[in-house]
Symmetry: C2
Subunit: 405 residues, 2 copies
């Protein structure tokens, strides 16, 4: 019979214990930080009815990147490319029972059919953090910025390692309406052009720009319009409050757009300041109409959300480039090597292991009757810190010794 290949599916990863260790380092700091801000964990299946992405997820993702298929019962199903539509669905389903502000987080795996490259995999894990609130957007907008800052500091990054760039869809919309005088469709086309500005040449940008409008491209702060100025002052107020609490690496950036169509309020991106990797690590924003896309009880309560998603791969790259990951340590504390085939010795070894486990130690037993030197080598190779050898002598005298490697 022809043997099977050991390669995994293209663009996804196998996690051996060392890989799990490093991914867990990231997950643990994520969880610890968001829990300290009172966020509670939620989760859902990665299988979703396809329709929930069609309304407000980005055009590019829907057309080119989803994993969608028809199931055995003729349902159109999609492996989630992002978590926010699932969250919105869940909130809408229990709107009456939940109390707001509601702080939720999850670390789902998401799927996008993209060309695998640095920072991008077809399956990735993503910390999703959202506050759902019914009033006082400003305080929750500020909290999200503070939380982002705290996450990165808890990884021992410093404020010189990253910059938080902030903009606002409300601001952009007022520019589209009051300066460019776009209709809704033109505004969307323009926004999608802005979103890919960094990925295309100046010439390409100008060409596309001229197709949409004859107006001169203007710096937003130079636009003399009351609504525009009001929205700009909102962003400046947020920046001001953040600076007062010690977050100095935050700035307004009118080129931040974010890809998802559902954002309505502030949008932001966190940039890596490393000149060799000067790109957005992650971002997010406020969405006010997403939950209303779903059926729910009729009432006057409008739930608005603000959130962000951090991928595990860009996070890992960021930490690696700054040596902020710890050394691998095995979750097993002690390797216990039995250097005998005698059943009595084995029984004694089992007894010692049980005793050590009862003391809270994680103990792995090697029953293969190896030489002491081999047991030592295996212990060290696997990042285990302690070893116990049990042979005839130890069994007879009912003793054992824990040796540190």
């Amino acid at each position: 019979m022809k043997k099977l290949k050991t390669e995994n599916y293209k663009g996804v990863r196998d996690f051996y214990p060392r890989d799990v260790f490093f991914q867990e380092c990231i997950f643990e700091t994520w969880k610890k930080t968001v829990k300290s801000f009172g966020f509670e964990e939620y989760n859902a299946s990665l299988l979703e009815n396809s329709e929930i992405y069609k309304a407000k997820t980005s055009e590019e993702i829907i057309n080119n990147q989803t994993y969608s298929f028809i199931d055995r019962g003729d349902r159109e199903v999609t492996l989630r490319p992002e978590m926010t539509p699932t969250l919105a669905r869940m909130i809408a389903a229990k709107k009456r029972e939940l109390s707001f502000p509601l702080r939720l987080y999850s670390i789902p795996n998401c799927f996008r059919y993209e060309r695998p490259q640095r920072g991008r995999m077809r399956e990735f894990w993503q910390l999703n953090v959202d506050i759902l609130n019914v009033k006082n957007d400003k305080f929750y907008d500020i909290e999200i910025i503070k939380l982002i800052n705290k996450i990165l500091l808890n990884f021992k990054a410093t404020s010189s390692d990253f910059t938080i760039k902030i903009n606002s869809r409300t601001l952009l919309n007022s520019v589209y309406e009051n300066y460019y005088e776009f209709n809704e469709n033109e505004a969307l086309t323009f926004q999608r052009l802005l979103d890919k500005k960094d990925k295309i040449t100046q010439v390409e940008f100008s060409k596309e720009y001229e197709k949409i409008t004859d107006k001169e491209y203007k710096d937003i702060s130079d636009i003399d319009d009351k609504k525009v100025k009001k929205e700009l002052s909102y962003i400046n107020e947020i920046i001001e409050v953040c600076k007062n609490t010690g977050i100095t690496n935050i700035e307004f950036d009118q080129n931040i757009v974010r890809g998802f169509d559902y954002y309505t309020g502030i949008v932001f991106e966190v940039f890596d300041n490393d000149p060799e990797n000067n790109r957005a690590l992650f971002g997010g924003g406020r969405y006010s109409n997403l939950i209303d896309l779903f059926e729910s009880v009729k009432d006057d309560v409008n739930i608005s959300g603000i959130g962000f998603g951090i991928g595990d791969v860009p996070m890992m790259n960021f930490l690696e480039s700054r040596n902020l990951l710890p050394e691998f340590v095995n979750t097993t504390d002690i390797l216990l090597g039995v250097i005998s085939d005698n059943q009595k010795v084995i029984d004694y070894a089992d007894m010692v292991a049980t005793e050590l486990r009862d003391q809270g130690k994680n103990v792995s037993i090697n029953y293969d009757n190896k030489k002491v030197g081999d047991i030592m080598k295996i212990t060290e190779k696997n990042g285990i810190k302690n070893v116990v050898i049990i042979g005839e002598k130890e069994c007879e005298e009912k003793v054992y010794e824990i040796k540190e490697i």
Copy 2:
């Protein structure tokens, strides 16, 4: 625009914080126990090339239950219905670098297109525990039984709650060859019939049985054959050692077969002793040829594996029926209610929250200027144990009080 439905995809679950809490209770006890036996965590993508299931996963799963589709690059891909083939692939890929015995665990989600019913969902999580060894099968067979027992005891179940039933594919094969004189195909058909014995009537069973063989159905212990007796004594030895270490609820059961085709050695199932739910909770077995299905370095080392998988849903049902789940507690320790709109008061509240977080407390802030009574209600409703109220007075006097609910 027509609103979207809030129902999730059929047969999968949404996990709100309370659901995550109970699932985490199960995952934590699983992890704590297997780690104490020196098992290390691995993981992999749920997307696998379809071919890896075609060889040795059960016929029923492959034909009727897999989620398989063709991706945008024309690859045939399957959402894993079980984890063992992935594990075998990963072991084969790094055979040279890994040291054996290797103890691995994972809690993957798996997918099967089945009719949703009690204990069965289309997506379920499953603790997978495996020992990969190159010699001394017996010691590792025993360890796996001990581990199963320990997991259930760590949930505070007692030995009267469950029974471990053990059989052996080697034993069954010797019966097929030496008593029934089956060829390979007949043996497989017979085994699949045995596997569904409990799900069909006696009449149906007899009818199918007579199609395969004319031999009288005989109790295995009555078969007078050297090989059969030898295999039976192996099982009895394992049972004996287990009983000596205090595991009294273990017995030989010749009707235990297990559905997967890849088992070659002992197979076992853990039965719920509850008369209202007297069924197999989970099971596993030894597989000696699975890793060899994959391409790998040529050498004389044959890796054999033994493992089991426990689903989260049957585990939850088992614990619920015995009241072994704890009361829900929110991961947030303190709800801090700001009962003012004054920026100074808000700044003070933020300062208090930061101070409490620095002390390791998880603090959620309500900025919605609610009444004290409402803050109390929200705290209680959400299973949060403590509350802090910050108003003008607290801000002025720079004091605060943590009140237990």
